[in-house]
Symmetry: C5
């Protein structure tokens, strides 16, 4: 964000971490009967194809990646997007949000990926027009392959449906990926629990800390989706017949948030278990030390006592003294051990 | 959920853990005067019976278990349920919810069972139509035996009442089972408290953790019922005369949530007690160790001192030295013990 | 609650702990000028008296205890109460609530009693009709003696006022008893604070735990009263002129909740104090032990050193060695003590 | 509160701690041009003066203290206040509140005083009528001296303004005193922080506890002022032109609450610092003890070993043994110290 | 605030820490085509220039610093600002807020600066009139240099736009500076995390405490901006076409609050890590001490035993005793080490 301070709002600067690269542009033109899919690289081709669209054909244009801000800005311009929208597409650290314009609805959504304990978010921007969907993704789940497969089936609901239905399918696909992430995290939590209960190390607590932060980020990226979908439902852009599908996605969002909250609760408890395990272990160590010390310290005193060199220390010269001292040295630890046993020290 | 990513919404996949099995279908046809109960297995029979229903007869169809997704989907189709509803019936990890359709109301509710410390939830889906109730259960409390018994009494309120009243009776029955679960948990909490106060072990803290999680899950499965019943009350489907009964169930839900919250509070306190018990015990161990060490360490020094082998160490040759050393070795521990007593160390 | 699962809603079962006993029925008939108080036991007498009431006489019927569910059910029937109301009267573990019926308002309120550290709640059910109040109590504060005394004064506001005013007086009386309970708890908290600051034992933490739970229960029993009174104020049953008195009671409820919250905060702090006191004490013990050990361990080494039996250990044969060893053994502890003093260990 | 249980609402009983004393009654009669200030003691004089007021003269009557409940009740009666208002004036443990009557607005506000770590609240009751303000104070900040001084200036805004403006000035004056209290507390917090960071004692934690409670009470006494002022703004009694001044006071209240919350946060952190300081100190003590013990215990073993009295222990008879033993006894501690240094134990 | 108690509201007193100094007054007069920037010091010049403004010219007057309350008051008077507004401009510890007057909108906003761990806020007051903006700053980010640069470009949006757009640019500039502060804090947090995980000292916990307080202050200074911008959007003063830009700034505010919350969560976890690291270290120290003590204490007993001086202690005279004692003294520590290894003590 730093480099943007003082710039006029709406300045298009890419803020992500993917190296600059010309975007792949996939254009899907379809109706219930026909479908045509093509990959393009130049703006001219896109312009040519888009201007050739007739009134009945629906289209979906997918652009990925978006690291080349110049091209993205020109494409957005061609599609008639507001300069603030272009800025939002390119600054990839936005929270999910929705903005309603006269000609189109614009939403930002986060695609979450979890690999080797690292949680990465890719921002996906979706534009919904009357008969057209435009999607900008820093990275998308396999370029929405599953949605593509469903599109290929002629006469499927997605082919016959309006753009709103495809729009929903894209959102649904991204959100369903959260369940995958949560599954990985769930496994990690189970391992961590095992570890903390039976073999806690210093690293465990770092792990707890790390997981907590991941869950926090996950929640931050899904939480605003509630509002996004709600706003969509209240807008006029979505026909009544699709409301039920949007509500279904809404339910998934709520489920995800619920699961995250549950995990957070579970993890919070881990610290308590960890600390009490440490305390327990400390107690045990101290107990052992105490028992050994308590038994041997008096004995050492006795040996010291009988090792004194007084010239007139007659006790050492008594014949039975040695025997009695041995008896004493056996009975003291036995007595103490019995005493400890009774006080339930071990 | 994983296997469902990318599928079109409304795909019917069973997500529970009960092995695939053809459902038992119980059909109850009743009015104030007559009742007929039958068990069926084939869709054809169900179709035949349902199409034979006249206008005055109320019916309740109970289907359990729902692990055979194909049959369930066909049955739901026959009853005219929306494909999203079928999906909801089969994915058994939903939170309780209500959905209003033109022809029917659809609710999901959780039946909680607590056995040997394990809390299991079975999802029950209820459909309320004008004169018909359809219930899909992964597992229900003895197939609603108590409700059945009440149904068998001719001229009882449940027989004379509309479908809404039977619908309520089913909900009420499931919710009342929560009190049973809470009773078991309450007993466990009492035992746990005893244990933590008087004999805490490492397992106690795991137990606390386990109970906390169970209560959290319990709350998650009952909390949304508030909204479910509220929505039912605001809908037109429930006649005014039954509102008071629904409000009564609502009160029970609130009571259950209250009790759960109380238990959670109580359990939260257990950790504090546990840690302070550990600290206390540690203090006691250290005190004992300190007292013994403090008494014997100086004595050992003395015996060491009198055990030195200096050739010109005249003190050892004095006749009274031995006596005085003994007096010293008795008076030091006595003095220290008095000192400790005064400082209230034990 | 257990035994009620599956029963039809509205089944009258007593769930309290008072042994079954025929209720005492006190009937007060009064207007500004006259008052008549009578105690009855049989339903017939009640019926006879109630049917003899003319239009200008106000009446208050108090029934206590309610452990005999049969009689209570018959009485309620006679007074025209709904079966769900009867159920509520008899299941004495309800949270306070209000229910509005066409003919009457029904509220449940908790009378709190605190004796020897035990907090007990008795449920009181009040029914407000046009000219009649019916109160069912498991146990009431001395059968509302103070209200009775005020009733005995002719031309007092309570005698001249409508039933709503007496109704208010009963609620007010029960709620004001909370202040008594809070006073006892306040004293206990002060004692506990003293104890935890200057002489904490293992029992202190149990005491904290116990108090916390009592306060939680107290709050749960008064919190819903806010809504109860608010609903009363919004209903038409209470004439405008009495609103100010109901608001005054509302203020008392808020005050009670405030005080409870304050106590909870205070008690939460106790645990911190307790743990830090334990830590402090541990530190002190360890300090003492460390100082003694640190002083005597080197000394013991020295005596050991000079107690070795080497044949060619000429140092022991030197004449001044004994003197020097003594000097050494005095200077080492002195030096260490000075060092500790400088590092402020004691 | 105890003694009031069962009394009819509106009974006037003084619940404060100031000894019974006839109130001083100050009457200020003023308009833009003239001002007349007088002190009175008898109700008769007050009646005489108040009845002599003409239509254009504004008046302010200040009554302090209010421990003589009889006189206060008579005065309130004279001013036409409702019996519940009188009760509120006299029970000085109310939370701030506002009550709107047809003839007047009545508010309760708390004047906070902080002296030597003790936080005391005095209740001030203000009555706003058309052209008259009546203030009842258990104790006020120097009897509102600063407001008086502003009143003395002819043609000042306060003299020209309506009663609402003087009313506001009184409220403002009381609320601004909270900043003084917060300043004292702020200084105390800074001292406490210093103490806890560099020299924590057992008293520190009591101090933290004490401050927390003071802040909690402070918040409880200012928090309801938000609602009081909001209600005033929504009522018709305050002319539009004064709204901006009331909003200004509202802002001050919000500022005070903000500051209190900040202080509470800061103080909460103190406990963590305290406990970690204790832990740190413990660690240091144990480290020192461990190092000394670890060095000398093996040495003591050696001296013991060489001090054994075996007849056939030839090692003691070797000529070089003494030298070697000394070398051993020097190298062992040196080796251990190097080892500890490498493990960064000190 | 102290010195202001009892003063009439609206008294202009400067409460900041910058020494009294005549303000620099920068006046920018511009339209799409022309721009004129001048620095002035005397009120007369300002008056002369402002009265010379024609209807089409927009102007921005920036005044910094504001420590000379007399001049500021006179300037404000000249611009027709309410006395309460002047008071707010000068008391620089206000929380951000907005106030709507008939002629102008007045907002307070905080400019945050973070230098060497110290977070400083400077208050900036902005007044938006029809064609004029007046800004009062205790200190501004380089006197809004970046905004000035954008202003210098002829035909830029900021030059062509209405005053609302420049107003927005000023707000945007101040708010974007928060990202800079957050970046510095983020780096600090990362360093702190490293430190706490691998090398925690007593200072770390002070650092945590310090950072927490900074974040709390940061949040307090940005949180109310949500309301400020919301109110601006609901007012009529901002033309519809600029709403989208204001919403963009609103999004930034939300982003900042989100980031702050995330940091707070992260920092909260640090204390847990710190304490568990301390506990871990303690455990390790105790373990080492225990192992050494447990090994050598029995050995010392043995040497003591064999060092006793009994005259009739025949064991010492046996020829093989010495050898056996040596074997014993080797086997005991070996056995204990194996035992510890099996119990996984090290």
């Amino acid at each position: 964000m730093t480099e943007k301070i003082g710039l006029s709002p709406g300045t298009a600067v890419y803020t992500g971490y993917i190296e600059e690269k010309e975007p792949d542009i996939t254009i899907v033109r379809y109706d219930a009967a026909n479908i045509e899919v093509g990959d393009y690289r130049s703006l001219d081709e896109v312009q040519r194809i888009c201007s050739g669209l007739d009134d009945t054909t629906k289209s979906w244009i997918h652009i990925e990646p978006i690291s080349d801000s110049g091209t993205i800005a020109r494409l957005s311009d061609f599609f008639g997007l507001h300069s603030l929208v272009v800025e939002d597409i390119l600054s990839v650290n936005h929270r999910p949000k929705i903005e309603e314009y006269d000609e189109y609805s614009f939403i930002i959504i986060k695609y979450a990926q979890y690999e080797e304990g690292e949680l990465i978010f890719y921002q996906i921007a979706l534009v919904l027009k009357e008969k057209q969907i435009i999607s900008f993704a820093d990275k998308s789940p396999n370029k929405f392959d599953m949605v593509n497969k469903r599109l290929e089936k002629a006469d499927s609901r997605i082919r016959k449906g309006d753009s709103e239905y495809l729009f929903l399918a894209l959102i649904d696909y991204v959100i369903d990926h959260y369940f995958l992430v949560l599954e990985s995290i769930s496994e990690e939590i189970e391992e961590l629990e095992e570890e903390i209960l039976y073999n806690p190390t210093k690293e465990s607590i770092e792990h707890v800390h790390h997981l907590k932060r991941n869950l926090m980020n996950l929640k931050k990226s899904i939480w605003p989706m509630r509002e996004v979908i709600n706003t969509l439902l209240q807008s006029d852009r979505i026909k009544q017949e699709y409301h039920i599908y949007y509500r279904d996605v809404y339910d998934h969002v709520i489920d995800i948030i619920d699961i995250i909250e549950g995990y957070r609760d579970t993890i919070s408890g881990f610290l308590d278990i960890y600390l009490s395990t440490l305390s327990n272990r400390m107690n045990e160590i101290m107990k052992t030390l105490s028992i050994i010390a308590t038994i041997f310290i008096p004995l050492s005193f006795l040996t010291g006592y009988f090792g004194m060199n007084f010239k007139y220390e007659t006790i050492l010269e008594s014949q039975s003294a040695y025997m009695w001292s041995n008896i004493l040295m056996i009975s003291i630890p036995v007595a103490l051990l019995i005493y400890f046993k009774l006080r339930k020290w071990f």
